[in-house]
């Protein structure tokens, strides 16, 4: 089906049905998921799917609808539902659709080679990865290994003259295993997710990382409740970053529901913290040419050496705030100068965090509390694993105490960060 053509036609149809403005969002995807366990296939799942989403404006009120039925009558019916729904919502002069601004293609979002790799080769990769991860004698069970791929085409058209699309792909290979010793069980997993098949990491590297995560946690010891340094590994840095991202969401700020709402151009964190939004990196997992409204992405500094420099706005929130939509977003923390090993060596007493649970920083009031697993450090050396601990504090306290920033930024993750250290936090234990 020619979705490009269909999108343009549906914009016209929406106008004829009585909408003042119409936006049509079409997404079409193909997915494959293979799971193996204990040397044999466990599941194979394959699908083609697609759908149309409508957003309409009627006298300043907004209505949405979506359908995965491309039948012509169903599409008209779905459009009418959106128009009928718009009549119920509250008119707001800030409800507008974006104009079609020029954008730059982002290179390397789509790899046609993924689909051409034979099914048996993909199954073999998952099988080999599992076998490699099970090689270590401490690893007793497999929870499964998998290969996944997906490709998606997005088309956006609106009544302000926009009609554009992009295609993207991703593939992944990963494994999850269990290490056992006496009554203890620990899980470990690792995966590699890339836009291009050729960029997937070597299977032995993924396998070793998964196995290590499981066995290195064996024989944990409890520590007492105390204040000590907390080193965030890149794998868990997201737990702090997520709350900051939610708190600089322009709509939350306008609603008075953000702990950063009054901090524009003020210092709210350590000067070691710089956060950049960049949706343009070639082959980046979070990269795309434009956001869900069709607004081009860009590269911006949101937090500059601890000073808040920008909020994130969609078209509606930008209208309300009297500014421009920023396009959303692929954020990361800028690398610092320290080797992660040096950060550990410079820590007298504290935890190297490998796993955290909970919801991260509460974006409304900045409270933070979570469960913690990792390694205990005394006199600059890791001495044993720890689990069942808690860490807590306020965002203000935690972010201002970042005193070492690592140089180990891995740009192949989304919402990525290097290792960093918080000088002191409350740790709950025995």
């Amino acid at each position: 089906m020619d979705y490009y053509d269909l999108a343009a036609r549906l914009v016209g149809r929406g106008r004829r049905l009585g909408a003042d403005e119409v936006e049509v969002f079409i997404q079409s995807s193909r997915n494959l998921s293979i799971r193996v366990r204990n040397g044999d296939i466990e599941t194979i799942q394959e699908s083609d799917s697609g759908g149309v989403g409508f957003r309409v404006l009627v006298n300043g009120s907004m209505g949405f609808s979506h359908s995965n039925d491309f039948n012509d009558r169903a599409l008209t019916d779905t459009l009418q539902r959106a128009i009928a729904f718009a009549e119920l919502t509250t008119p707001d002069e800030n409800n507008t659709l974006p104009y079609d601004l020029p954008y730059t293609e982002v290179e390397g979002l789509y790899d046609p080679a993924i689909a051409k790799v034979a099914m048996d080769k993909k199954i073999d990769m998952a099988l080999e990865l599992e076998a490699l991860a099970m090689k270590d004698a401490r690893i007793t069970h497999s929870s499964g290994s998998s290969f996944g791929e997906g490709e998606t085409e997005v088309i956006i058209a609106n009544s302000r003259g926009m009609l554009k699309s992009y295609k993207s792909s991703a593939c992944s290979v990963g494994v999850s295993i269990v290490a056992e010793k006496d009554d203890q069980r620990h899980t470990g997993w690792e995966s590699s997710v890339r836009r291009y098949f050729e960029d997937l990491e070597p299977l032995d590297k993924i396998a070793n990382s998964a196995a290590k995560k499981a066995w290195e946690m064996l024989d944990p010891q409890m520590v007492r409740t105390q204040r000590a340094a907390v080193i965030f590994d890149p794998a868990v840095a997201r737990s702090l970053l997520g709350g900051i991202i939610a708190a600089i969401n322009g709509e939350r700020v306008l609603q008075g529901a953000s702990f950063l709402q009054d901090k524009m151009d003020e210092r709210f964190a350590s000067e070691l913290l710089t956060i950049i939004d960049d949706g343009t990196r070639p082959r980046g997992l979070g990269s795309k040419p434009f956001d869900g409204e069709g607004v081009p992405v860009s590269k911006r500094t949101l937090v500059e050496e601890g000073v808040l420099r920008g909020f994130l706005y969609n078209t509606y929130a930008a209208n309300r705030a009297g500014t421009e939509s920023t396009g959303t977003h692929n954020l990361y923390v800028k690398a610092g100068k320290h080797n992660p090993q040096d950060i550990i060596a410079n820590t007298n007493r504290g935890i190297l965090l490998k796993g955290v649970t909970g919801y991260g920083i509460n974006p409304v009031n900045g409270n933070y509390s979570g469960g913690a697993t990792g390694f205990w450090i005394e006199n600059g050396k890791i001495i044993h694993p720890v689990q069942g601990l808690t860490i807590a504090g306020s965002a203000d306290d935690i972010l201002n105490q970042i005193d070492m920033m690592g140089n180990d930024l891995d740009m192949n993750r989304s919402f990525t960060s290097p290792t960093f250290r918080i000088r002191e936090m409350q740790i709950g234990g025995a």
Binding site: G53, R81, F85, T89, T225
Partner: protein, 511 residues
């Protein structure tokens, strides 16, 4: 693997649209954030023409699915019509209407599962899905499918005011009433976020065992969050109601009542101070607190990880795993409850399953595959989020049975600790049994009394630890609705009477 997010997120509108359509990219093994966002947005209804596929055609599809071999095959057809209306800052920000339909074909061969789905329900597409799904059964043993006939199942859901017959203006009115009640509660309530969701899911299933079933499940989900602000502190509270029911739900539970309960929490927590850190006794109030048991004990009792030999309760059937006062049940038959789906998405009749009886492990929750692997009965827990997923063992309405203690006695007998009035949600690793929860509303206990409110602390522990440390169980069983994520979403309730747990690690920000 193993993260079960138990939190309703308010999605940005555009995001919802994208995910509602089906997000494209498969991510292996990692905790599937994208699928978590898929969300059970709620949805409403009309039976689509595609579901009228005749039985002879379905028999042909099943025969095709088993043509390479296999022990079992089924076809699942679904049509879901949904509505979501969002009110923020006293304005109706958006209304979303959604139609989603499709059908999936599954083949089980030994321990293997093949699955494929199509969104356009035609015989040709179903045959193609059957061919793809049959791939896993090559060289498997052959069986002869039984021709399908309509099977009889009991229903536990009643509808008095069908959602399809309700004018949208009545939905709007319910939301306005809740908004007004929230703002009237206290001037420090600055904003209410109100989300109304409803859906009608029509499903048809046909299996190689000859079962044919067809029904429609309505589902209402109404969420009020209120934000308080007194110039120093701010708190976002939450209250939810949900049922497989018609619009009559709002006669039993008024929107004003929901909004007032949310507002009470928002105001109470303005005085919250830093929570203490370390091991302490915890009293959990009756109701949604049952989510702790849902996560910490329920997930490890789902039979898929037991069949893999890696679940925390593997090999413990018949053993004493908890204190004598602890009995835990999963019951898919409680009338109109959010977790009551009459029969599961494989056609097995829902039932009451006692999982732990006076501390002794009595049962796992199974789907067809794990029941076969473990040689256990089917318990009616094979559920799926939609036709885009194959069924896996899931909970329905899961709770701790009431005991004999009076809630006030439990509190009075606790000298020092934490009183948890409500939890946001949490997660568990089903292999290790390590869980975590975030408190939404909690107080210090001093000399048997609830005193100072404290900020959202984390509770962590292990499943075996928590059930062997529950030493008091109240007589005041109550429930709360939730969304459970396990790679795919399921609507559930969790419940408990007031209970006391001796010695949980609490993550506060002061010593």
């Amino acid at each position: 693997m193993g993260t079960n997010l138990f939190e309703k997120r308010l999605l940005p509108r555009r995001k919802f649209l994208e995910y509602g359509l089906k997000s494209g990219i498969a991510i292996a093994v990692t905790p599937p954030l994208l699928t978590n966002l898929f969300s059970c947005s709620g949805s409403a209804m009309r039976v689509g023409p595609g579901l009228d596929m005749d039985k002879a055609t379905l028999d042909r599809v099943i025969a095709k699915a088993l043509s390479q071999g296999g022990d079992f095959a089924d076809v699942y057809l679904e049509n879901r019509n949904s509505r979501q209306i969002v009110m923020e800052e006293s304005s109706f920000k958006s209304g979303l209407y959604g139609i989603s339909q499709g059908a999936g074909v599954r083949v089980i061969s030994g321990d293997k599962t093949g699955y494929a789905y199509t969104e356009e329900i035609t015989e040709e597409n179903l045959m193609r899905a059957a061919t793809i799904a049959s791939y896993v059964a090559r060289n498997g043993k052959q069986i002869q499918p039984v021709n399908i006939e309509t099977a009889q199942r009991k229903t536990f859901n009643t509808v008095k005011q069908p959602l399809e017959a309700i004018a949208d203006s009545r939905r709007i009115e319910i939301m306005e009433r809740a908004n007004q009640a929230a703002l009237d509660y206290d001037p420090r309530i600055r904003m209410a976020l109100i989300e109304y969701n409803d859906q009608v899911r029509a499903r048809v299933m046909a299996t190689s065992e000859g079962v044919y079933l067809r029904d429609e499940l309505p589902l209402l989900f109404f969420i009020v969050q209120t934000m308080s602000d007194d110039g120093n502190n701010r708190h976002m509270s939450r209250e939810r109601i949900s049922a497989h029911s018609g619009f009559e739900l709002f006669e039993k539970e008024t929107p004003e009542g929901v909004a007032q309960r949310a507002s009470r929490e928002a105001i109470a927590m303005l005085d919250a101070e830093d929570a203490p850190a370390g091991m302490m006794d915890v009293v959990m109030e009756n109701g949604w607190g049952g989510v702790l048991i849902h996560e910490a004990v329920g997930h490890p009792l789902e039979a898929d990880n037991i069949a893999k030999g890696i679940g925390a309760f593997t090999g413990k059937m018949g053993q004493k795993v908890a204190t004598d006062v602890f009995t835990m049940v999963d019951d898919g038959t409680i009338p109109n409850f959010r977790g009551t789906i009459d029969f599961d998405d494989e056609g097995t009749q829902a039932q009451r399953n006692v999982l732990i009886d006076k501390g002794v492990l009595k049962g796992y929750m199974t789907d067809i595959l794990s029941a076969k692997q473990l040689d256990l009965p089917r318990t009616g827990n094979g559920r799926r989020e939609s036709f885009r997923h194959f069924p896996i063992p899931r909970m329905t309405n899961t709770f701790i049975e009431p005991g004999k203690d009076l809630p006030e006695d439990i509190l009075r007998d606790t000298k020092k600790g934490l009183y948890v009035q409500s939890l946001s949600g949490g997660s568990v690793n089903p292999v290790t049994g390590v869980f975590n929860f975030t408190c939404r509303e909690a107080y210090l206990i001093e000399n048997g009394h609830k005193t100072q409110p404290v900020k959202g602390a984390t509770l962590i522990g292990s499943c075996m630890g928590v059930i062997s440390n529950i030493d008091a169980v109240g007589n005041d069983l109550d429930f709360g609705p939730g969304i459970c994520g396990k790679g795919q979403m399921a609507e559930v309730t969790a419940g408990q009477p007031t209970v006391r747990i001796r010695g949980i690690n609490v993550g506060g920000s002061r010593a």
